[in-house]
């Protein structure tokens, strides 16, 4: 490796930036083909009902209509997780939320397709519907699905690491709190779109706005009963993803089937309202936490419960449920830990993975809980956290292996930068500061479906003209994953990153990468690219060294040249070096792949939480609260993020700022609101009424990058796309308390809640707004796992039967 890095760490233009600023980037809806038909889905108008009959006669007869599909045309179920194959492209017997698709039309125009879908007659027999997780707990019948953990529970989890109750009892204080985190959605500016083409040689091509072409590929093969080799999925650049385009979707399967039926290209572009029905966003989550703490702030034990409103389908929900309990242990020392999580089905659009997947909710709870503990103990909340940090290179109670750990440095940065010590509890009424921290995974340690293959693969082709092409299944969703591949390869081979062509997200052309989710791409595809590039360097270096008559380890690759590091004038162009290698060995191509290290945990449920590396963030939020209205404004957020190593610092800062933006929206205004009185219907499926902050709400962001390289990351890099979102909500909540002395224990922190809490406080009641009870849930027998410091080996203890 060159001593002086020429690419890594620099704030270079992204390789796709020019196309994006000129409007040249082709998103899925920008594609058009001769004879293309347009698809419209007919969606359920009932939240929960049996389908009695569907009559498509009139629709099929409308001029311009070429095909009409109903559920029985696509009888095979699918779903992102092998354990939750509970979706159909079009509902067969039953609809489960308003927006669930029941029919699909392909016609010569979007107008004709819409008119035809309106002519499909569906007779429903309504069933009792369920509007919230609490209602689902109470309602065993009718069941929304006939699988799961009984009644309308999709999943019940109970994991105990050491004797948590005994641990909690050792605390000098024991604190118990309840929190609620409202659901929110990704709201990518691009509405999902897909185009399918079927060719007479029995080959299907699907262009789609997806974060996970590999999983779409698998779902298509399964549902359409086609050999995977005859299906090509091309992920078009996503106009924003944030997790909302990570499931295989009904509309993708519907257009594929319609293309097969009609023999013509078929396109669908969802309306904004339909994007709300795709959803897979943040689970509304009710949480209860009890923690024992010593006077010095050290935690003796923690018991955490979560109840997730999953909506109508499984999606990633099993993983989401585990995630609400997994990462509490990677920031502060929790020696004994008990987690119970439940996910319930309700008649709402399905929830799934939104930026931070299952961890922002418990992070909000934990960080506000700690703020209350700090206050109770009379310790500065920053000090409290610094005292209890998980050490680097350690194993947590639930067997997560922490590598590099820069949270202490992050806290120091924001405490210093924000002038914390002069502000906290010292500002005039109405102004306040709050602090919170977080951590996130750099990719999941385990794949979604069980296998022993790499999570990411790269092929590299070195051209005799000096160009290099990287092929990788990863998906560009705006986060810069295409650029990361180019930068890493360019660094290793000493070429200009703009001389590197990047081919991604195409199942015919690129080796599998599992997708752009769980902040895995920089670390995993980056490592795969690094390996492929190093192998290419070795081949090229071997022959270049021969020509220069020096040992290969004396070679340097930089500035488009391969040369003697001890005598830089002696060398050749990179293109010449490739030519020597090609002449000697044939075409110069290499592969690289990446598989995460084995996880330490070996209990059931240990698959969620492990990661090759954890990022860390610390955040201070400043708020202005108007005590007359309860309106909260956030002028500034200071954020420090431990990214391990910036591959491109400008891109890293962009991810940080974007995360703060999305977190601010969740903290103050975003919510998936439903009406449940009449029918369970989405109250506001529009960009006007779902409140995404504008330029006028966005705060100033002061970003500090902490670079604590992690041995598992390429050049030490860890994730940045999701982690910095997590501390925003609790930091704002803690700041509101600092400003006006009331606790808002749920997000979004809307003015009516603040005002209610202020009024309660003025009357001498508890100045708090938030949930007051956690329902009784039939938790299963816990899986008991002895902690590492109790001599545990990561396996569950044998159940002792009396």
């Amino acid at each position: 490796m060159a001593d002086k890095r020429r690419v890594i760490g620099k704030a270079l233009r992204k390789v796709d930036a020019t196309a994006k600023v000129t409007g040249a980037t082709k998103f899925a809806d920008d594609l058009a083909f001769p004879r293309m038909l347009f698809c419209k889905l007919l969606r359920s108008t009932q939240p929960h009902a049996r389908i009695v009959s569907i009559d498509t006669t009139a629709a099929a007869q409308l001029a311009g209509v070429h095909a009409v599909l109903v559920g029985r045309d696509l009888p095979i179920p699918f779903g992102i997780l092998p354990v939750s194959q509970d979706e159909h492209a079009l509902c067969i017997d039953k609809v489960r939320f308003i927006g669930d698709p029941v029919g699909a039309v392909a016609a010569t125009s979007e107008e004709a397709a819409t008119a035809a879908s309106d002519l499909i007659r569906v007779e429903y027999e309504p069933l009792k519907s369920i509007a919230s997780a609490e209602e689902a707990v109470e309602t065993a019948e009718p069941r929304i699905h006939d699988y799961g953990d009984g009644g309308n529970f999709h999943k019940l989890v109970d994991l105990e690491f050491g004797d948590a109750d005994a641990g909690i009892a050792e605390g000098d204080i024991v604190r118990e709190d309840l929190f609620f985190f409202e659901g929110s959605t990704h709201l990518p500016m691009e509405q999902h779109a897909a185009v399918a083409m079927w060719s007479p040689d029995q080959k299907l091509t699907l262009w789609t706005s997806t974060q996970t072409p590999h999983y779409v590929h698998r779902a298509l093969a399964k549902v359409l009963e086609l050999p995977a080799a005859r299906i090509r999925v091309i992920a078009t650049p996503n106009g924003g993803g944030f997790g909302g385009k990570s499931d295989p979707f009904n509309h993708e399967i519907a257009v594929a089937k319609l293309a097969m039926t009609t023999g013509r290209p078929v396109k669908i572009t969802l309306t904004r309202e339909e994007v709300f029905y795709c959803h897979r966003g943040r689970h509304p989550t009710l949480m209860w936490v009890r923690t024992g703490v010593k006077k010095d702030g050290s935690i003796t034990g923690m018991h955490f419960r979560s109840l997730l409103d999953g909506g109508a389908y499984g999606s990633y929900g099993v993983a989401s449920t585990y995630y609400t309990g997994a990462l509490q242990t990677v920031t502060y020392n929790v020696p004994r830990y008990h987690f119970q999580g439940a996910r319930a089905f309700t008649n709402k659009a399905p929830c799934g993975p939104k930026r931070g997947h299952g961890t922002p909710q418990p992070r909000f709870a934990l960080e506000v809980h700690l703020d209350k503990i700090a206050e109770q103990l009379g310790i500065d909340p920053a000090e409290l956290r610094l005292k209890t940090l998980v050490p680097a290179n350690s194993l947590t109670a639930n067997y997560l292996r922490v590598g590099s750990m820069g949270l202490g440095k992050c806290i120091a940065k924001v405490v210093d930068g924000s002038g914390w010590k002069k502000q906290f509890r010292k500002l005039p009424r109405g102004r306040g500061v709050g602090l919170a921290c977080s951590s996130y995974i750099s990719g999941a340690g385990l794949p979604i479906y069980w296998n022993n293959m790499p999570h990411s693969g790269v092929q590299l082709k070195c051209d005799r003209g000096g160009g290099v092409t990287v092929f990788c299944g990863s998906t560009e969703i705006g986060q810069g994953s295409d650029s990361i591949l180019a930068y890493i390869v360019a660094e290793v081979l000493g070429v200009d990153p703009f001389d590197v062509a990047v081919v991604t997200g195409d199942t015919d052309l690129t080796p599998v990468d599992l997708g752009s989710y769980s902040s895995r791409v920089t670390l995993m595809s980056g490592n795969a690219a690094l390996q492929a590039a190093e192998r290419a360097r070795q081949i090229i270096g071997l022959h270049a060294a021969k020509q220069l008559d020096i040992p290969a380890d004396r070679l340097a690759f930089a500035d488009g040249r391969v040369y003697d590091a001890e005598d830089p004038k002696r060398g050749m162009t990179f293109a010449d070096a490739v030519q020597w290698a090609e002449a000697a060995e044939g075409t110069v191509g290499t592969v690289g792949s990446y598989t995460p290290p084995m996880s330490a945990g070996r209990y059931r449920g240990a698959g969620v939480g492990p990661s090759p590396a954890y990022s860390y963030s610390a955040c201070v939020a400043e708020v202005d609260v108007d005590p007359e209205t309860g309106i909260v404004r956030v002028p500034t957020i200071w954020i420090a993020h431990d990214v391990g190593r910036s591959i491109n610092s400008a891109a890293v800062i962009g991810q940080v700022e974007g995360s703060i933006y999305m977190g601010l929206g969740e903290a103050l205004m975003e919510e998936m609101a439903y009406r449940g009185d009449l029918k369970v219907v989405h109250k506001i499926p529009s960009l006007l009424e779902y409140k995404s902050p504008t330029t006028l709400e966005m705060c100033d962001v002061i970003t500090y990058l902490v670079e604590d390289p992690d041995p598992n990351g390429p050049f030490g890099a860890k994730e940045v796309g999701q982690g910095p979102l997590l501390p925003v909500m609790p930091a704002v909540a803690n700041a509101v308390y600092d400003a006006v002395g009331v606790r808002i224990d749920e997000v979004p922190i809307t003015p009516d809640k603040v005002l209610k809490a202020l009024r309660a406080k003025a009357k001498g009641e508890e100045g708090r707004y938030g949930p007051t009870t956690f329902p009784d849930i039939p938790w299963p027998e816990p899986t008991r796992v002895p902690t590492p410091w109790e001599g545990g080996d990561g396996k569950a203890a044998e159940r002792v039967h009396a």
Partner: protein, 331 residues
């Protein structure tokens, strides 16, 4: 992509031509100005005229002279009329607070004054409304906001209309029967469906603003975000001063009823008083009582009601400060 239903589109150059086209097209036709209210509604199938007649090419509707404002002036233009900054600052403030800069480049004064009433059971796609069996404002029979009510409770969501009512502007209308002038306050009805007294074949041509004559007015808007959002509460406050004494006053609330709601009780609390803290509190309390927002816009409705008190008080405070500042300036 959400698309418009098919229709014919006419672009008359004169008022007479526009009226003739309307007469020829019959009841299944509508006038359009900026289109920022009508076209989204048409895309959601709230209105489905077969003929749309644009008023944007009629020079008479684009003029502005002294206090006479053509209704096809865009809201951007209206918020930037230099002479307005002082005398009619409440008008330009309200215009500037409508939606977004992009929308204000298209939306017009007339469009905002005639803005369709809004309700989040109504401003939804055809498919969404179908799932609740529609509502009485379009295609259905029930007002879901108040199911036992015989009337529709959709909300007046104009920012400029409350100001016009408060300052006592007059609207000039031209129709097949000729011309008439209506005080702004009589242009609106408290009914979500029949919210305008304008006939569908009448054109709102211009607005006559009263001469600046010892009065002052302000507009305060409550909404979630600093742009895009309609008011969940608008407070237009007008005071006729005599020195530091209130001779007359009008407080008009937007976003709480199907019309700009004048709260005469609040005005009564101000008359013949100076704007001290107690007077302001009394007027705010008087405005709070009849303010009855319904659960059909953004935010918790009881919070919205409580905000009436705060926003009326703040509007009056601003008026008081402006009066104080100008009297200091004079003195």
């Amino acid at each position: 992509m959400l698309r418009l239903p098919a229709f014919r589109y006419f672009q008359p150059r004169t008022l007479a031509e526009a009226l003739q086209m309307k007469a020829d097209a019959g009841p299944n036709s509508m006038f359009v100005a900026g289109g920022t209210d009508l076209y989204p509604n048409m895309k959601r199938r709230h209105q489905e005229p077969k003929t749309v007649i644009s008023l944007m090419g009629i020079p008479e509707l684009q003029t502005i002279e002294a206090g006479n404002v053509g209704t096809c002036l865009t809201l951007s233009a209206l918020s930037n009329v230099p002479s307005f900054q002082r005398s009619y600052s409440a008008v330009s403030t309200a215009a500037r607070l409508v939606s977004t800069p992009l929308l204000r480049n298209m939306g017009t004064l007339g469009g905002n004054l005639c803005l369709d009433t809004r309700c989040n059971y109504y401003n939804q796609s055809y498919e969404w409304r179908k799932s609740i069996d529609f509502c009485m404002k379009k295609d259905g029979h029930i007002c879901w906001v108040a199911p036992s009510s015989p009337r529709c409770w959709a909300v007046s969501s104009s920012d400029v209309a409350p100001v016009m009512v408060a300052i006592g502007a007059e609207y000039r209308l031209v129709g097949p029967q000729g011309e008439r002038v209506v005080p702004a306050g009589r242009f609106y009805d408290n009914d979500g469906i029949n919210y305008l007294t304008k006939q569908s074949d009448e054109i709102l041509v211009n607005v006559r603003l009263p001469q600046p004559n010892g009065w002052d007015a302000v507009y305060h808007k409550l909404r979630r975000r600093g742009s895009f959002d309609f008011p969940v509460l608008g407070v237009a406050a007008w005071i006729q001063w005599s020195g530091k004494t209130v001779v007359d006053a009008r407080i008009v609330l937007g976003g709480v009823a199907s019309y700009p709601q004048e709260v005469t009780e609040a005005a009564a609390a101000l008359r013949d008083m100076t704007l001290g803290a107690e007077t302001i509190a009394a007027a705010a309390e008087a405005a709070y009582r009849p303010s009855k927002p319904m659960d059909n816009t953004d935010f918790d409705l009881s919070w919205r009601k409580q905000m009436t008190r705060v926003y009326v008080a703040r509007a009056l405070q601003e008026l008081g400060e402006r009066a104080g500042a100008s009297s200091r300036h004079r003195g």
